[in-house]
Symmetry: C2
Subunit: 213 residues, 2 copies
Amino acid sequence: MGDFPRTEKTEITRLAKRGAYDQETIFSLLDEALYCNVAYVREGQPFQIPTGFVRIDNKIYIHGSVGSFYMREIRDKKHPVCISATLMDGLVLARSAFHHSVNYRSVVIFAEPQLVDNTDELYAALEAFTEKICPGRWADVRKPTPNEWKETMVLSFDIKEASAKVRTGPPKDDEEDYALDVWAGVVPLKINHFPPQADPDLKPGVSVPAYLK
Amino acid sequence: MGDFPRTEKTEITRLAKRGAYDQETIFSLLDEALYCNVAYVREGQPFQIPTGFVRIDNKIYIHGSVGSFYMREIRDKKHPVCISATLMDGLVLARSAFHHSVNYRSVVIFAEPQLVDNTDELYAALEAFTEKICPGRWADVRKPTPNEWKETMVLSFDIKEASAKVRTGPPKDDEEDYALDVWAGVVPLKINHFPPQADPDLKPGVSVPAYLK
């Protein structure tokens, strides 16, 4: 997989060595992140909305109700948006307060919304949403009715102008500080899935599906 | 603690019952979230930056290098910004694809940056940053030198115009779907801290401090 071109908007200027422009880094982060933030502008004022999303090939999809104010707004005005997703991988504890940091991966994408009105693409996106949060789930659940499809708006964004910023590894201290009697290292962070909690109104006798174990 | 006033920008219109405007909900989420997203506008184009932050009283603080392009930009132009922080608490698995959701808490704040040039406030903010990611750490590490303080820019934002959106609890399905033989419930999510990994260059004999165990 290739690199995305660096543009004035996506080029990482601060700590440039943390910049990444390759599809593999960017796509794998998008596939792992549970939500993104969509930033847009209304009358000079920035707004942002955290929302679930899914990547298929070279597109990001978000969905919402056809009544969603912000989705209608960015759809109608074809607002340029900035989408970001971030994963926190660890706390970086240096010997000096100044060099404390975090290990993270973040992606920023600049794009314009496209309304998805092709039924095949719409269905594929909504199936992918469900499968992203819970692989194996789609085959198990009641599928959308024609009315439910109609109540759902899906917008797509081409991933063309995108960059990632990544920090990994141990702390970087000043040369003379490595002699200090201060512990230094990384506390890894990860989002944990806990055992499923059944709905109190679950029909008696329905057991936890294998894909959740 | 009281409520923040609802404004045209902060009033939750979509799924209004998920809206929260009280300080306790908003502050506790800000204190738990490891990073926020700062959205701002440059020449009509939205940008956003994920960054660490800390809340003290009624203010949010972010910090960066005095060479940071975006921090200088929002400082100099006093850009209005939109700050958000989000926590994902669970995957909500309904009987129908349509009613799948997530449990989450998110806060959105609208504010303008203030440069923190008061030394006491600056020091307090930077100590709070370190203590937020690792309570007990500040007392243990080498404190900033005069030059390091000078290299650090801190911006504050008054928390005045803010709202939260919160979903909790089991899935909500359509009446007739409760009879289906489909498992439904919640998969709780939580960010886990794993055992600390020592820096390969750690001075021999320095042990893991008590506050990390």
